[in-house]
Symmetry: C2
Subunit: 496 residues, 2 copies
């Protein structure tokens, strides 16, 4: 049984039975059957299914937010907003599928005797291991699940042990909505329990694994899947750097400090896009300004006893490696409540292999006051891969901007200018991913239109008669999608 | 030293010294520097460099073909044709880069305060481990190298021990042409020797590895690179199935048999697209027709003593698992010459784990005469991943066509209708890849326009001023590339 605990008290509050091996096998079998059916559906049909699911989430918003709050302690306003965002994202992924670029449709007439067509097919059933920190956005019906369904793949989600009751209820709501809207049995299912999760990874029926969570969890999945060659898209731990230029610090260090503290303590510091390390010019008083703000941050509960224990260990390790520290002065309550904290670190100590360059999940961050901007930039190049980074500049004319962005880009997925990385908009131009060890696949994104690409692969068909090609490659372009004809990219309105 | 042997005699004919560790380190350092320079060049500049290399290959065609023939025994006509194809491919990859879709340029104006742009950046220095069987197409300046350079990544190729002298000479010609055309030092280099290859894989300077070769070699590279999270695009062994429908067999079994033998013995059966297993309806006499053709196939030398030994082992293993066999009646000469051979296998013996379903590199193939077409189709679904497959049909109206293609597609990269898979055209719609274990990355292709995608990754920049964005995202679209603006895909002629 996955036991449920209230993070605000540490008290047990029921649980959910593990899925039996026989039941996992039955779920895998129906996903295998559904894979053929989904691959044959048009995106606009899957849009109907997904729209029904989005509507169902909103219809159950209050119930889901309450249940989520009992298990995560993240607070009702944040959870309501996360549900609303998730409902919008589901619609977005459906619209991306309908737009049709994800199909990569292409035809070349090489010569009189050779024609070649290429397009993307769904890879098959996907196993999704969601995250503890976003029970809706990256949970059992979040970005990974919705983008996989939009791309035409059945999904089997594994319940997160941090919120088993919410996972169970959310999956029932989503599954019912999908089936009622016409999706075949096997389109979406949930399993609960560690062994059930391993069963998925080991099954030849699973084509791809998507995971959001810790480095340790991601690495274990990667090792488990490697001998079968199963792709694992793991989003793991990351220290997201922020850089403040001299001009920005001169303009308003206090405002940047306030924004930094608000960003790294958001959701009790349990965002994968949390800014974990800020570089600011010495003499501007950034550490003191941050420390003053941190002093006033109310304690917040971490998600689980395990995360609280890891946070305590991390704080102790950082204390050894850092120069000094400061923490919230507000008394910490029961359960998994912890105090926000900031460390001052020396530029010279930010060396590869240092604990300072590894994520500490929770409301903690580092401040590095640099004397030499060039030395700080050199350090940026040596940082390990991150999901996101922020640069605070004195505006478009700040001469440092371009160099800082150029140093950061090779190590990150997204750079935000004069903005904190903790907001992740779901749109065509979003990149939520990054180089190792932030993710296992530096070419992938788990938010944004590109999220569907993880769940399809290209195939070519040579010398096919029109009736053997997929319908979206026929002359009249019935789905009105962008296609490439003899090398020329042609949007639907201008076809033929 | 990598010693060179003549496959036609087995005689030693010189060799090439291994690259020292200090020299590999120097090469890695200059590739790291060149990576920044290449990332800042426009595709049309790299097109100039690549065109010079293509011209240089053609200018040295006869010298290179002679040298290649001494080390591979593949014959001058085939090698001349491979050089010409390689020269064309280099130009094609350059044109794909100039077209600009590979940049994935996209901008969204979310609202008054948020703008988000996304595009692809080159990942950095690439290590290319080429194949023995295509010294030009997949050698030290073949598809992998040219597509990586086109995408803006420096390349360090490792010489193949089957043709060390050709690798050395070819790399000098290509490198000189690149540098003379203006490419920076570090754009392209060669290393020789097993340890030098490991040095590349272990170096933090290498961003991605591309490999073409055996299953064992590919798996070793994958295991070596995994702890660092370095992407490895390995194209490995594959049994490419062919299926003959009842109508096709009735129309002309003799012609299909002749084509099959010509295809599986091409280049002494050392094509990664070799059709290794053909399914034909019982009663059409396919095995006998193939055996009659095989009897007349002249012996050909395999590339190396190692490949010849593996072929002998493979033939012995297949003989145990197959029902009967037949081979060329023409006497086999010295060196690494072997006889073409065909095995008759039972449908029931094509079970997962059977030796019959694993590649045997060289001029050998299996014939399976099926009684029940439905049972044969079920077997197709159980085959492991392959690069390519062929289907021979009675024409567009053959009722079996669609079902066979649908059964094959989930397991292969490309299906050719009424054509053999051994020709691989380099064009926009080509897919040369396939599910595990044919390759390590089922989403990738090593031939065709999609080949560049292996060497770039997306980044997002949030709230950037125009001067901080790459030039190709500026309002006037100076490179005239397709871009996505607020979700709409816009080809260059219709921009703004």
């Amino acid at each position: 049984m996955d036991v449920s605990y209230d993070p605000r008290t540490g008290e047990r509050q029921g649980g959910v039975a593990h899925t039996t091996s026989a039941m996992v096998e039955a779920i895998l079998n129906r996903a295998t059957t559904a894979a053929y059916e989904l691959a044959a559906t048009a995106p606009k049909v899957r849009k109907i299914w997904l729209t029904a699911t989005s509507d169902a989430l909103l219809a159950h918003e209050e119930e889901l937010a309450q249940l989520g709050n009992e298990e995560t302690g993240l607070g009702l306003p944040r959870l309501r907003s996360e549900i609303a965002g998730s409902a919008r994202s589901i619609l977005f992924y459906a619209s991306v599928a309908v737009e049709g670029s994800y199909l990569g449709a292409s035809t070349d007439l090489i010569n009189e005797s050779i024609a070649l067509s290429r397009w993307n097919i769904p890879v098959g059933p996907i196993a999704v291991f969601g995250a503890s920190n976003f029970p809706f956005g990256f949970g059992v019906f979040g970005h990974d699940v919705a983008s996989a369904l939009a791309a035409g793949c059945p999904v089997i989600a594994k319940a997160h042990p941090a919120h088993p009751r919410l996972s169970a209820r959310l999956s029932v709501i989503a599954r019912s909505a999908l089936l009622a809207a016409g999706a075949p049995e096997g389109t979406y299912d949930l399993v609960t329990g560690f062994d059930a999760g391993l069963h998925l990874v080991d099954s030849p029926a699973i084509a791809t694994v998507a995971f959001t969570g810790s480095q340790r969890g991601g690495m274990a999945l990667l090792a488990r899947a490697a001998p079968r060659g199963v792709p694992v898209f793991a989003e793991m731990g990351t220290v997201n750097p922020a850089f403040v230029t001299a001009a920005a610090a001169a303009a308003d260090t206090a405002a940047i400090a306030a924004g930094f503290v608000a960003s790294f303590t958001l959701g009790a510091g349990q965002f994968c896009t949390k800014p974990g390390l800020i570089f600011a010019p010495a003499g501007a008083g950034m550490f003191d300004a941050v420390a003053a703000r941190v002093a006033e941050v109310p304690p917040a509960p971490l998600l689980t006893a395990g995360i609280a224990a890891s946070f305590a260990t991390g704080i102790a390790e950082l204390a050894v490696a850092a120069e000094s520290t400061s923490r919230s002065t507000i008394p910490v309550g029961d359960g998994y409540f912890v105090a926000a904290q900031v460390f001052r670190v020396a530029l010279a100590d930010l060396r590869p292999g240092s604990r300072l360059l590894e994520e500490c999940f929770g409301p903690v961050a580092l401040v590095c006051e640099y004397i030499d901007a060039a030395a700080a930039l050199s350090t940026l190049v040596r940082l390990q891969g991150s999901l996101a980074a922020s640069v605070f500049t004195g505006g478009p004319t700040d001469p440092e901007t371009r160099a800082v962005v150029e140093r950061l880009l090779p190590n990150v997925g997204r750079v935000a200018l004069n903005a904190w990385p903790t907001g992740v908009i779901n749109t065509w131009s979003q990149q939520h991913g990054g180089p190792w060890p932030a993710t296992s696949r530096l070419d992938a994104t788990s938010v944004g239109a590109g999220a569907l690409a993880r769940f399809v692969r290209p195939v070519s068909l040579q010398n096919a008669a029109p009736e053997t090609l997929p319908v979206f490659l026929s002359a009249d372009n019935p789905w009105q999608i962008p296609r490439r004809i003899d090398g020329a990219l042609i949007p639907p309105a201008h076809q033929f």
